[in-house]
Amino acid sequence: MAKVISRREIAPQTVLLELEAPRIAFKRRPGQFVILKQDERGERIPLTIAKSDATKGTITVIFQMVGAGTRGLGTVPVGGEILDTVGPLGRPTDIQHVGTVVSVGGGIGTAVAYPIASAMKAAGNKVIGIVGARTRELVILEEEMRSVSDELLITTDDGSYARKGFVTDVLREVIARGEKIDEVLAIGPVPMMRAVCAVTREAGIKTVVSLNPIMIDGTGMCGGCRVEIGGQTKFACVDGPEFDGHQVNWDVLDLRLSAYKDHEHDACRLYSTENH
């Protein structure tokens, strides 16, 4: 049982939950995730740990209420409980002093990028943060990202906030201005990560991505999370979730993420009839 300590809607349909999970808070390192199962009937939902507080014994997760499972989680009130919380899972990010790191977060991906950018900064790197969103109100963690970035650049697809355009436009400019970039970290929707990797491959910059395939156990037991990296099958939950972005077969990831599209429909319908 993990008690919800605080809950905030940080953007439309985007919820931040702070959970009481002392063992995980103590152990967790940047890049790792937890799996939450709301109740007896719930799905197991993997979520990156955005923040943790070892003294307080809490972890923070941020997610978008897209499917029935996340919608359920998003409605657990402060003081309410989540039946199962397991973690920290996955390999932690390889945090090193490499020089200059560009952290690109798209949409909800910024929640995953933030803890890594923060650790990269703490390790002495120069951090250039790029935060992208579809529209103004979907820009999340701006202040947090600013606090760990030497320079923060924001884009919105529709130009409703900061500059109009895609994260790749900004990234190209940073490269073009002659900034010596040692590593790019790209986390967001598949098309965004794929596009960032295309840019950095051309520029010959090492790029790390964090993948979010469908998972069940998160311990290597089911193989449902398999991804193709450099032509080889890997289990994202134990071999990842971070991989060399230039080795990822994006088509396979995109395909496998769509496996239950039709089911999601049914589940959401049930969810809305039960909750209205």
Binding site: R44, G69, D84, M221, C222, G224, R256
Partner: protein, 506 residues
Amino acid sequence: MTLVMPPHSLLPAATVCPTPTSTPVSKAARPPRQKMPEQPVAERILNFDEVPYGYSPELAELEASRCLQCKKPACVDGCPVSVDIPGFIKNVAARDYLSAARLVKSTNSLPAVCGRVCPQEEQCESLCVLAKKGESVAIGRLERFVSDYEREHGLGELPPTAPPSGFKVAVVGSGPAGLTCAGELVKLGHEVTVYEALHKAGGVLVYGIPEFRLPKSIVGTEVDYLERLGVRIQLNSPIGKSETVDELLESGFDAVFIGTGAGLPYFMGVPGENFIGVYSANEYLTRANLMKAYLFPEYGTPIIRGQNVAIIGGGNVAMDAARTALRLGAKHSIIVYRRSREEMPARTEEIHHAEEEGIEFQLLSAPVRILGDKSGRVKGLECLRMELGEPDASGRRRPVPVIGSEYVIDVDTVVVSVGNGPNPLIPQTTPGLITSKHGNITANEDTGSTSKPDVFAGGDIVTGAATVILAMGAGRRAAAAIDNHLKVNKQCAPSCSVAEIDQVVE
């Protein structure tokens, strides 16, 4: 407590219900081996309820009367945990079901499970004297009967436990190996905590073996029983991630038993394995059993309900997946196996049930490629016909491909059930723990001791995927060895008094 098996009198009228063949027991006319009543095929393929209902007392008594009560019972030699088989069967014949149940339980801590899933035909029943003349005594069915009787009548009682020893043991993994080890250790007075990665205890018994073969409430009862004995169960704890083995030892555990099973699914490495609709058997069964995807969307986890499902492999796991596919609505559920029927490793009863239910068998057939449609969903399985050649290292005749014999089976779902390896989570995070080249933990067969001091291991993580009863046997032997190790080599914690130590050492 929930009744798992309907009382005999309440069986639906349509139930195939063999009436006891009650010929007087004489040398001339021994009654035939009694069948268990079971759900009729047409009904059961539409639900996930258990297939056999189990014996009625009358059937059990009749079956028990077939036992010859051999002076030197060969059957016991075939039992990995040496259940006193003639002893408990004698109790059944005398209608003393409770004594029978307790006798079984004195050496087998999970009899309701073993009675359902042990490969008896290769173990006790294969050595029964009657087997040579025809049909062995149905030992497994009797074992199931007595333990169900005890459970359903609420007669399970807690065995005496030794006074607290002051020692603490961590058990990693709650499959049959871990549960058995924990049960034995707690009875010996040690403080036991079981760490389980998943959100439910039971290992393969809860995530792998389907409800229709092993009702989850039975596993639940066994786990409750251990908790009542004093075992603490810490769920959601993937050791190696949440805590390491070394951290457990540093935090005050005097010994650690590792029973993490063989939970890493192998794939075939053929093209097309990442299409939508290709599952490992572990994923397929976990979705269906542990996550109850057959009740989607009331339960949150979905599963693809294929119309034509191919299951690759010939073991119990493959049979379970094939029969699950049928219950999820498949029109054709097809086992694809590269050897012939004789080599299939599944229990005879499972193959029999699968055949009855209309599972199709494509034997001597090896997949070479999975075909997908434009949107990346499975649309076919390309196979190659095989023929049997010379025996290989396992003694089974090696399948060799027939050149140019490729053919395609039209399927929309493929379940890969070609075996599991050991999960590397613990070996990778436990310095000093030696593993084989396949990644299994190297452990002494009699004691479970490993290369690392105070660390023991047993079950599938040591042997590779095997059976419930072998895992239990290993858990039991390790518990005895751990008990001995603690008493001989360890200082008792200050909390435990001298009187208690004396008692324990006696």
